[in-house]
Symmetry: C2
Subunit: 343 residues, 2 copies
């Protein structure tokens, strides 16, 4: 019996530490996953560029799920920004080293398939909206605390890009213009308090002062080793001061969300990223409390706060959905679907 040709989409999440793909069918059923470290180790990886690794990862996903070039309908990509979501050019990502890099064009030529690119956190929010914890929402704020604190905004179920293409930077809401230095060069941004590194900095202090027994066993005082899962384990083990510090910074994320609630009036706040995946309840509690206590009551009562359901898949699933929509739009407009990246 002849096998019916499958039609697949690939969603790719380009992170600072890992590349992650999902392969889905046209109904967004996950057929397989493939992941790699963003930066290679050992001799074999030395010469290769990040783009080579991205290609390798997509190839790997196709092999993993045994799909051929003709079965690949399109590739959606979530990348750190700023980037131009219309052209798929990555404008500047100090983290991963691209500058004015035409990612959509290059990936599209390489795989002879349409490619749509958007900001990773926008797509994480979009993924949760279509397939995860934010289903049923309409105006959605996504906050993804991890190394940085990314944000995504959906208005009427569509990603809001704003004038710059880079809207949603909740990590750079300023609490105190004289506050601690942020990675962005400004001072007192949310990320400079509530990102994983400044939290780890506070926690390392506890370890050194002997105030965090479990964390000392789990991680020690090197900020590189104090990861989300170590922090969660220490709190679960009973390190009260670790919990206090994390709750305080989760509440600060809540305060930033309060300001977005008062201005945008979303119905859903979805939290994701490494810290939330490790401690979903803690984050939902603190953000909910901040909104309840500090947002205007008339606006607060419309908001539900939820934690990611898709976890690690959120960005890649949102990316797959994005390229599917781009394909549908292009078909409607009678455009060549091999060129989905142009809107």
């Amino acid at each position: 019996m002849a096998k019916k040709q499958r039609q697949c989409l690939i969603g790719l999440d380009i992170g600072g530490t890992k590349l992650m793909t999902v392969v889905v069918d046209e109904k967004f059923k996950v057929l397989g996953r493939f992941r790699m470290k963003t930066r290679g180790k050992g001799k074999a990886r030395k010469g290769g560029s990040l783009f080579d690794r991205v290609v390798e990862c997509v190839d790997g996903a196709m092999k993993e799920t045994k799909i051929g070039p003709k079965e690949l309908l399109g590739i959606g990509v979530g990348s750190p920004g700023p980037l131009d979501p219309k052209t798929g050019v990555i404008i500047d990502t100090p983290n991963i080293g691209w500058k004015n890099f035409p990612l959509a064009d290059k990936l599209s030529s390489r795989f002879k398939a349409p490619v749509a690119v958007d900001n990773d956190v926008n797509l994480g929010t979009y993924g949760e909206f279509h397939f995860g914890a934010a289903r049923g929402g309409r105006h959605v704020l996504g906050v993804f605390p991890g190394t940085g604190i990314g944000g995504g905004i959906l208005i009427d179920g569509r990603i809001h890009h704003g004038a710059s293409g880079a809207a949603g930077e909740i990590g750079h809401v300023v609490f105190d213009p004289e506050g601690p230095l942020c990675g962005c060069g400004q001072r007192g941004c949310l990320e400079a308090y509530a990102g994983r590194l400044p939290i780890a900095g506070q926690l390392a202090g506890l370890v050194i002062r002997g105030q965090a027994r479990h964390l000392a066993e789990e991680a020690g005082s090197d900020l590189r080793d104090i990861r989300s899962s170590q922090i969660a384990a220490a709190i679960a083990g009973g390190d009260k001061m670790v919990e206090q510090i994390v709750r305080r910074e989760a509440a600060r994320i809540g305060l930033a969300a309060v300001n977005v609630v008062n201005v945008l009036s979303p119905d859903t706040v979805v939290l994701g990223g490494g810290m939330v995946e490790a401690m979903p309840r803690l984050y939902v509690e603190e953000v909910s409390r901040a909104i309840k206590e500090n947002a205007l009551p008339f606006l607060a009562k419309f908001v539900t706060v939820v934690a990611t359901k898709l976890g690690d898949d959120a960005v890649a699933m949102g990316a797959a959905k994005l390229v599917a929509e781009r394909l549908a739009e292009n078909q409607k407009n009678g455009k060549n679907t091999r060129n989905a990246k142009k809107k």
Copy 2:
């Protein structure tokens, strides 16, 4: 020679201190204005409700411009909120005393004309977008500091209402949850620092300490007498400490705008309201500076900060535009245009 029948729209701005109407033709040319105090004085006014005065004001506008009932296409109304922009019900306005008041319905029955209602600052922003300082923008933040600090958001040129219908409350962006008490019952909101009353409170202190000679002459130390125009006159007269205080609070409005810029990425920030009308240059300078210094550079560079061009007409002009659009929509959908309030 028979006169061609005119077709007019009325825009009405319901403020805490005054009611203000514009009458425009179909091309939004202003044919006339009519205004009244919101609260009547003397015996004749005693028994009348606010709704009676609103009716009186619309009547006055029609007489002023000699338009008859058949020439009146519709009435647009800007009111303090929260309100339901779909039904035109005013949900709760402590300032003017309406609670679940079906303003659109009542006004529509009274004048046998379609009525559209929205938040006053939304419509001020909308007026500036269509006819004033924010023309050419697409994603617009309006900030109107006066007694309160109102905000309005336009996304893709449309008023953003959010899940509650009441988005845009930039006056209640929280700077410090332990800060001064705000009229809304929360603490540390922008309005609790940078509204006209807390500014007047600081300035009255200067007057009492003899540190504001011109303001002492202009206004004295009673907060009721320290109005925007008195403050502007004192600064123009050379009261340096008055200027310092106002600049500091204008900069705080700038910081609140920074957070909206980082999240929404607007192309235009339009400032209006009493304080800005009295001191447009000071406010534009401080808000521009805050955005330039504190917003993410990639988002900040897309933003232009402007001061109101329509001044007192902004809300009423936005209201006239709103009802015109509602009429066009209803006509497109083949609905009875006598019932524009339902979307």
